[in-house]
Every structure is written in C-alpha cells, then in structure tokens.
Subunit: 271 residues, 3 copies
C-alpha cells in the first residue's frame, strides 16, 4: 500500500458530552486540514476494551484500503502499556497495545507493528500523562493519513509480543455450536460470538434456556412479537424479537450461553 | 437540476453507540472520498417512521439545492417494502418506501421516483438482507451525490404508488384550530401539528385542557416559569414554559389535543 | 491574522436527537460547501451558559489559528442580549453576549468585538425570533470562515461592555489553595477550578471533607479503587478514583469546596 486516502476513523470511550473528541480533531486538523475525519462511535462503555475491539471489528472492513483507524479505549494510560501503530493490508491502526486490536491481529495479515517512541511527531508543547488520545495517537494518525511512513513514527516491535484478549469461546460439536451473547445493539438485538460464516448455509434453531429462536433470513419473516435468529449484517448469529427489543422482553445478558442446534430436516427445528 | 454539490445528509434510528452509521459512511467514502457527509440525527426512536418523517421535514429545506438526503428508519427491511429514490426541485431522497418521505411527497414537486433494482450499484460482495442502509441506500446516495443520474440507478415507478402516512389532522373552524402535539424537543418544548403559516399574522391563545398558553413572539417575552405559545423556528405552533421544560412540568404527551383560539381583540386572549 | 483555514467548530446545548445542529450545518454549507465543520459537543446541559463556557475553554486552543468557534447556549434568544463576534489572536468566536465567552475574554487578547447588526449576512428569507443559531450565528460563522472580514459583519462595540460571568473563585494561602468542583466528565472524574499551572511543580494533597486524594502523575499510578488527584489533560486539578467513577462512589457535586494543601516534605502528604 503506497497511497493513503487521508481518511481517519475515530473510536473512543470518551462520550460526546465533553470536548475530548473535538480536541483530538483539532489536533489532527492542525497537522493536515484536508483530512477526512469519520466518527465510528464514542459510546464504548468506559474502559471496556473488549467492547471497543468488537465495534472496531464490525467497522474497519467497510472503509477504503489505506484508511487509518484511531482507537482509544485506554484504562492503562500513563502506565507501562505500549502506544502502537499497525500496518495491515486493509489499513492502519493506532492506539494502545491493550487488546483493543485483538481481532485485527487475529483476522488480518499484520505487516508491521511499531512502538510510538518518536516524540517529534507528538502534540506540542506539553505531552500530558493522561490523554495520549490527544497527545500521541491523534497526531500519529494524522501523520499516517498524510502519507508519513510507519517507520518514521517509531521502532518495530515483534508481532508476537502484541496483546490479544482471551478469545471469546464457541464450541462446535456434531449437533451444533455453543456460544455466548457478546453485545446488544440499540434495537435490543442480542449479538452472539458465533460467526455467520459457520452456519450460513445450513438450517438451525437457537435455544437460550427454554426459549427457542428459529432461523430466519430477515426480521420481517417473523410475525410481530415472534422470536427469531439470523446472521446479522455484522456477520454474527443474532437473536431478536420482531418489532420489539429482545433485551427488554427477555432476561438475557452479555455473557449468557446460547445453543445453536443443526436442523435434522430441511425445515426449521421447532420446539 | 444538472449539478450536485456532493452533500449527503444522513438520518437514521441507528443511534450512535454502535458503528452502523460509521459503516454507512465508509461505504460512501469508498465510492467517493470527496463527499460531504452531514449527520441530521441518528436518535429517531427505533422504527418510528412518523418521527423520522417529522425530523426530515424540519431539516431538508435548509440544505443546498441538489443535496442528497439519505434516510433509514426501516422496520420492514427484508420484507416487500420497496427501496426507492426521489428527485425533487430541492434535492434527492433515498430510503425505504414506508412513509418516511410522506411530507416530502406532500410538500415538494416530486419530479420522478425510481425503484432501486440495479444491483450493480449496490454494496459488494454480499448484500445483506437486514442492513439495506449499508448495502443499498448508502451506495445509491453516494452515486447520486457523485452525479450519476437517477435513471441509471433503477426503474421509474408511478408517483401515486408511493406510501404516504395518514395525515396528522388539524381542524379549522371560525373560532380557531384544533391540533395535536406531534413532537417534544430537547428543551421540553411541545411541538404541535398546526402550521405557523396559518396563524402567523393573527393573535391567539392555546389551551390544553384547563391550561392556557398566551401567544408570544419569543420565549424571552414571557416571565420565568410562565407558559407561552409561539411559532417555533421549525415552523410549527409550539407550547413552552419560559426557562423550564414544559414536558416535565405539565402532563402533556405526544398525541394530546390542543385548542388554538383566535383572539377577539388585538390583545392576547387570557383566561 | 489574514488567512482563515475554513474550519468552524460548533458547540451548543441543542442535543443530537433533533435536527437543529444539522440545520445549522446546512445553512453554512449553502454559504460555502468547502467549510470544515467540527462538532465540539451539543450536550451542554440546556441553557447552562457556564458549562458551555467551561467546555469551550477546554477546546479552542487545540484548533488551528484562524478557526471560527460558533457557540450557541442562548437562554435569552429574542431578548435584548446582543449577538456578537470576537476576533482574537487564536481565532474567531461567534454567539450570544451572555457570558459564554467569559473565559476567552479573560484569557486571550481580544482584538475587536462587533455587534451582529448587518441583516444582509443573515439567513434568508425569514429570520426567526427563536433560533438565532440558524439565522444569525451560523451564517456569520460561515462568512468569517470564508474570509469575510469582521468589520463587514457588524459595528464595533467596546470590549469592556462584553458580558463576563462572575469568576469562579479559588483562594490561595501559604498553606494551599481552596477551590471548587466545576465539572464532572464521562468517567466520573471531578474537575476543579484550580489551574494546574499553579500547582504543577509542587507536591500536594487534596481533601474534600474527611476524604484525601494524594497527588499522582497518572491514574495508573494509583491502585484500583484508590483515590487520587492530578492535573488533568484539560489543565485543571482533578479528583479521581482509579478504575471507578469518583462521582458515583463519593457524595461530591459541582460547586462543592475542595482544599489543596502543599506537602511539607518531598513525599505526598497523607492523612
């Protein structure tokens, strides 16, 4: 990749009530006012690195090759956790080495990783000890999106030294796949950690305790108020109730186990 | 209109905690990184098409002629509801044919409408069944804002086949106008469905049950804590309490009836 | 300053559920579609001018010289409060003269101030009495960011006539500084009105009632659940609990007094 598009996406847990995100944009526009800045979300639950990793995974593939993804969910700011940047086939990633890029490291061919240790590319005059988003990560992202090469910005570090969060577990058996709820979206849909790729071409039903969620292709295939499961647009098996919030209607939470069972005939398995 | 400004506004019910909106922007920037993307709001109450239609009406007229308005409040995604684009004198509208464009159809001269049935302009490689915002509407909006003509993107459909929500009713009599509360804004102001144009030049008072809201020209004309009514900047008759949230202070809700009575003399009608 | 960068920041109390902010952007893009529009925050508590002034102070210095800062927290809209624009060494400020620019007036060399009284630069055709954000401030900001000079847009007013909110008080003594909590951020950190510049180079401890917050350089220096104080990235002395929300854990609120005491030896003063 020898050309960048000048696009920087931004994902944080800073919320939007304070000006922290605006300040990071100001710092980047000082470096290059022609950058295209795109918010992914700033409502990652405070300091929830796993949630940040999940949302980043759902977003990055939909941006142009060469995009710089700036991600800051950083409970260890000021500690010895490293500040890093990654180069992959699809783009760049800038942020703390605390597991936020776990899924990128697992899914993409990472070409190189650097430790951000070149203060001449940091925000001046006073790099703070508590806001590396503004003082280190934002300027580095702006320089990368402006065409500065990775090797200028820091020293290489071994790929196998990078932090990966413990993998969310799903277990396959001849009867189906056991997984977990890993997120809930705004509509109250329950998103599991079972990859859609594994199940797309077969029939199944999902059970959570005594509740059953027959496979559908779309929400609209189910009647109003009817439970269903489908492969969501994000690529995960998802549980929903047509026209309602499954989260509010059911007592199901992040981390709860779900059982996906293969159908034994061509029709849906019904309870 | 033979020139577009490359502006795309975006209105959804996706919220901002998930990356859905960011993903739509990524898809559009893949098509044309020079687009100007403007968020209208993503906090339409989930699947509330009427609320989306109301907010869109309040916004579109304030953008340059030729702007593309991408609106996705789409409870019927994956059902047989049609995906459409409209061309009007003021700009383009892209989204589901479920009533979201009711007020555009009633207020603007719609020049043509098309069914979005040309998959070569959709997002590749895998159009999902559940996220047409990303897979159909966002790329179509990006192509329109890049100068591709409407006829390239789909086949014409009759204007009289387009979905219009049942009109919010207001009833005029020689004594005044009976209407309803149709929205509440962040300040707790209660926005009715009575158009300001009908009442701008006369004196009136509004009653909701036993409560009276004298006409004012500005909030500041009323004393702190005093009820008032005025024609809001959005163009609707609005009920407020100076310095307070009318919604929190009063037991008035969306759908409640209001009575606007003409003044019988040049001063305000007071109870 | 004879060159603008075409950047406009926007800070309001309009929230993001309504389309008010989007509409202001539409008005600005009608004047100049090449503007770079950056949201600071729209979640200032409704009509809280002091909170708006605080957030604006934390943000403006991080943008390029020449940036136009559009700020609308305007409880007196339609009253006799003046609509103004300021030129400073660091950029321009546009909004109501109600104290929102107090800290700019105190901290920056203001070169000139004008009353916005030239309707030919306002939004047409109908300037409303209730939404000067859209009708006066947004277009003026767009013209300033497009290179129109201040003197075109209104008549000069004396700098000493501009509204300044009563200063938040902190009191120094040989033993330390007495201040107040002035804000709470998303992480529940309690931000005081004691400037970091005054304390940066010394050791101290902060007390709120019987609770003690030893000085740290970073959050990570404290153990999980331990109280600490530090100079935050915004430049104020801040109280926090490592890994937790100090606001939720403690019964401390905006306006509460805090006591910063100088250490009597080179180590932190502990209770």
């Amino acid at each position: 990749m020898d050309k960048t598009h000048g696009i920087v996406t931004i994902l944080t847990d800073f919320g939007t009530a304070d000006v922290y995100v605006g300040v990071m944009k100001g710092v980047m526009l000082q470096i290059n006012p022609d950058l295209i800045l795109v918010d992914l979300t700033h409502d990652i639950p405070p300091q929830n690195v796993a949630a940040g990793s999940f949302q980043l995974q759902n977003a990055y593939r939909h941006f142009p090759v060469g995009t710089v993804h700036l991600a800051v969910v950083d409970p260890g700011v000021g500690s010895c956790r490293r500040a890093i940047a990654l180069e992959t086939e699809v783009g760049f990633f800038v942020g703390p080495d605390n597991g936020l890029f776990s899924r990128i490291l697992q899914l993409e061919g990472v070409k190189s990783a650097i430790l951000l240790n070149q203060p001449r590319y940091w925000y001046k005059p006073i790099p703070s000890l508590t806001f590396h988003g503004r003082d280190i990560f934002a300027p580095i992202a702006a320089y990368l999106a402006s065409g500065i090469s990775l090797v200028e910005l820091g020293d290489p570090i071994p790929l196998d030294s990078l932090t990966i969060l413990p993998a969310e577990m799903y277990q396959s058996s001849p009867l189906g796949i056991r997984g977990q709820i890993q997120a809930v979206d705004r509509f109250g849909n329950l998103i599991s950690n079972i990859p859609g790729d594994l199940v797309q071409l077969r029939d199944w039903s999902v059970a959570v305790g005594a509740r059953h969620f027959p496979k559908r292709l779309t929400y609209a295939e189910a009647a109003w108020g009817e439970p269903l499961s489908l492969v969501g647009s994000h690529g995960w098996v998802e549980l929903a109730i047509q026209g309602e919030s499954a989260q509010q209607m059911l007592d199901i939470h992040i981390g709860d186990s779900i059982e996906l069972s293969w159908a034994t005939c061509s029709s849906d398995v019904l309870p």
